[in-house]
């Protein structure tokens, strides 16, 4: 049966949290039951999470890994808005109302030669399966992980285990070198031979500067975008970005694009479209959580 081992219940597939950990002050990782998604997902794809049926936002989260035999997917998220706050407060055994996926085009993985993977903050999470895939395909893998400070750096060991070379940087120098990711990236791209491909995933501003670094050195650079979405299947167009001055839908045309062609400034502005309302929702949730003693 297609929905084994769990039968369909209440018109929904079950998405129970089977394990959950806090990685840093605001970053969480959880393995969640989603057998069909675990089986179908490929590196680079994402899911849409909707925590409360008809009354919550639908947010895209990139899949950080999966165990098809256990039927679980791994999500890593940062507590920023109402939905991620709700997820952060959930416990093992709790169920997430709705998860749809895997969505988006998978990463194009082949043997390029040398691939440099740049992960900024929580961006290391979606980057990991891509880096694993690149390594498995026979590429030489150089990883650059960056974060504001030591506590915010995640998945260092996992990347170290698969990378031929790994560079750690933090804004404050609390671990690794005190630098932005663009500094080692530039150095690597100036090596001879230079890497055939760069993959940068992190805050939009980091991806923008990575692309500004690699463009003059002619290193093709893939970025993975995480915009505001609703359905994740191309139906609403809310996720559209300008790539090469043309509108593209992140959900079906992406989420990965040629970073040198992405209009990051517009994308960053679009991501603030609902900032005030999002803060209002979050505040309400926090006030409520205080009252009930969460």
């Amino acid at each position: 049966m297609y929905f084994s081992p769990e039968p369909v219940r209440n018109l929904k597939l079950s998405h129970k949290i089977v394990s959950k950990q806090q990685l840093s002050e605001n970053v969480f990782v959880a393995d969640i039951e989603a057998p069909l998604i675990a089986k179908a997902r490929k590196p680079g794809q994402f899911v849409i999470v909707c925590t409360r049926g008809n009354y919550s936002e639908r947010i895209p989260l990139t899949i950080a890994g999966a165990d098809a035999s256990k039927g679980t997917i791994r999500l890593i998220w940062q507590r920023v808005g109402k939905s991620t706050a709700e997820m952060s407060d959930m416990k093992v055994g709790d169920e997430i109302d709705n998860i749809a996926g895997p969505l988006g085009k998978p990463t194009h993985i082949e043997k390029f030669g040398t691939v440099v993977c740049i992960g900024g903050g929580i961006g290391a999470a979606p980057l990991l399966p891509i880096a694993e895939g690149m390594k498995k395909a026979g590429n030489k893998l150089i990883s650059i992980l960056g974060a504001r400070t030591k506590e915010l750096l995640i998945l260092q060991e996992e990347f170290a285990a698969i990378s031929d070379e790994i560079i750690i940087v933090t804004d404050d120098g609390s671990v690794g070198k005190k630098a932005l990711v663009t500094e080692p990236l530039k150095e690597i791209c100036q090596r001879s031979p230079k890497p055939e491909l760069a993959v940068a995933i992190g805050p939009a501003i980091m991806m923008k500067f990575c692309c500004q670094t690699t463009a003059p050195l002619n290193v093709p650079t893939v970025v993975s975008l995480n915009t505001i979405m609703i359905d994740g299947t191309g139906m609403c167009g809310g996720c559209r970005v300008e790539v090469d001055s043309k509108p593209m839908f992140v959900c079906v045309d992406g989420p990965e694009f040629d970073g040198h062609k992405v209009n990051f400034d517009l994308m960053m502005k679009r991501m603030t479209a609902y900032r005030d309302l999002e803060q209002e929702s979050l505040k309400k949730y926090k006030d409520h959580a205080c009252k009930i003693g969460l």
Binding site: Y55, N98, P102
Partner: protein
């Protein structure tokens, strides 16, 4: 001319008397004034999301039904995409037998409460009505849609569940839970097949829940149809994106489905490809309506966390029903001024006359023979205005409508903070891309034969993904054809 309730009562008694004594003559029927649909006051309703049209009373329904000449040729039936025996159900209402009327409708239509509300009757059954022809005014035709809604709504309480035949052991996957999917699932389940409906969203109902607003089609009516499905034993799986979660091939080859029906809708919004279309505050109608309807943005801060633009001045681009829905939704979300910007004249507007009329009543302003040239943003990339070009009508184009031609130098600026693009949808590529061998036309729509069969054995399709932008009733019509064809196919399959 509108009669008071007392006058109507009196008229009905007169007519009943005549009916008893030899029947009504055409002249008697013509003399009955066409019954207006009771509706919420425009000033009140634009501040709420409740249904605008409140429905006929039994008195009105009976008088309206008596206007029907009961033509031998029943031209109305020819105008109906699913060939409801309209004359017979209207006659039943005129005779006071609403139960029979419903039974007649249900022979051919499975969603009368929906179709009575959203069918474009004025270009279907009511266009061909003899009464309308006599008065040379389609609005004077017998109000078949209102009568359909009247009998369907009487049934809302009854909870009758269609009979299900003995299990056939055959499994069918229905992709999409919109009107087409619901009809296919109902019919095939009635025939005893094991039916599973897959829905990509977290809630079933398709365009009837994300697109058509509550004030035009209450969600409770759609939910009732979904409940009937589940009570019949149809399984509905939400958050399941066919093409991604499982492909059509996997459903058939690995999951044991003997046949598949694809009714995923259109679902890829067209944009205008003008400057500024990615600014904050520019929406596709799909996004705007989905936030408002499916995700309850109008309850933001009162239980819902779905944000939507807090608009004061809104421009909706387009002239179809979706544009009207978006414009009227914007009013209900608190916009002070809403403009419909349409590049042809009112005559060419594809929206239903009724919707146009309702929008005008509620204060939507129409900028006709105008089209945006670009969207202008402020320093934060938020919409500030649109620049509009004026048009005049030229020669008829391929669609038979007069082609709008730009008037050079006619540009002007319309200050708005929100722009909603409602100029139709392309075909969503997800299923096409992930189903090898599935034939598509040059627009990406799935190619089917007259039985709605695709190029693949056991795979059928219908609705907007086949027809392009169409209607609920056409999706339903194709659903019925496909269900019959799938049933035949399953009989031949071992």
């Amino acid at each position: 001319m509108e009669l008071s309730v007392n006058e109507s009562e009196k008229l009905l008694q007169e007519m009943l008397e005549k009916q008893k004594n030899g029947g009504l003559k055409p002249a008697d029927r013509y003399a009955i004034p066409s019954q207006d649909m009771p509706a919420q006051d425009p000033g009140v309703r634009k501040g709420n999301i409740s249904e605008v049209a409140t429905g006929y009373s039994s008195l009105q329904a009976r008088l309206e039904a008596m206007r029907c000449l009961q033509c031998k040729t029943a031209p109305c039936m020819e105008g109906c995409p699913v060939k409801i025996r309209i004359r017979d159900f209207v006659t039943a209402i005129a005779q006071g037998d609403d139960v029979k009327a419903l039974a007649v409708i249900k022979e051919n239509s499975l969603l009368p409460a929906v179709c009575g509300r959203v069918c474009p009757q004025e270009v279907q059954c009511q266009e061909t009505c003899t009464v309308g022809k006599k008065f040379k005014d389609v609005e004077k035709s017998v109000s078949i849609g209102r009568l359909e809604r009247y009998v369907a709504d009487l049934d809302q309480e009854s909870n009758s569940i269609p009979q299900v035949a003995a299990p056939t052991g055959k499994k069918v996957a229905v992709i999409g839970s919109g009107p087409g999917g619901i009809v296919v699932a109902t019919d095939l389940r009635r025939m005893g097949h094991d039916v599973t409906v897959f829905e990509a969203f977290h809630k079933p109902g398709g365009v009837m829940v994300y697109g058509i607003p509550e004030f035009r089609l209450p969600k409770a009516i759609v939910q009732r149809e979904i409940d009937v499905l589940t009570k019949m034993g149809v399984k509905i799986v939400c958050n399941f994106v066919v093409g991604r979660t499982r492909t059509v091939g996997e459903l058939m080859n690995e999951d044991g489905f003997d046949a598949v029906y694809i009714g995923v809708g259109a679902g890829l919004p067209n944009f205008m490809n003008i400057a500024g279309e990615s600014l904050i505050g520019v929406y596709s109608a799909n996004e705007y309506l989905t936030r408002a309807n499916l995700m309850n943005a109008y309850k933001f801060g009162k239980g819902s966390d779905t944000p939507i633009a807090q608009s004061k001045r809104v421009a909706v681009v387009g002239g179809g029903n979706v544009a009207m829905d978006a414009a009227r939704t914007a009013l209900r979300l608190g916009a002070e001024k809403v403009f419909i910007v349409y590049r042809r004249s009112e005559k060419e507007m594809p929206a239903r006359v009724e919707e146009l009329h309702h929008a005008k009543e509620e204060g939507v302003e129409f900028c006709l023979l105008q089209n945006p040239k670009r969207v202008i943003g402020d320093e934060n990339s938020r919409v500030q205005a649109i620049e509009i070009l004026k048009y005049e009508l030229g020669e008829p184009d391929a669609s038979g409508r007069r082609k709008p031609v730009v008037i050079p130098g006619s540009e002007f600026i319309l200050p708005v903070d929100t722009v909603i693009i409602a100029i139709g949808n392309g075909a969503n590529p997800l299923i096409g891309q992930t189903t090898p061998g599935l034939a598509l036309n040059k627009w990406g729509n799935i190619v089917v034969d007259e039985s709605c069969k695709t190029s693949l054995d056991g795979v059928y399709a219908g609705g907007d993904i086949v027809l392009g932008a169409a209607t609920v009733i056409l999706a339903m019509g194709q659903g019925r054809i496909a269900a019959a064809a799938i049933n035949d196919y399953l009989k031949t399959k071992k």
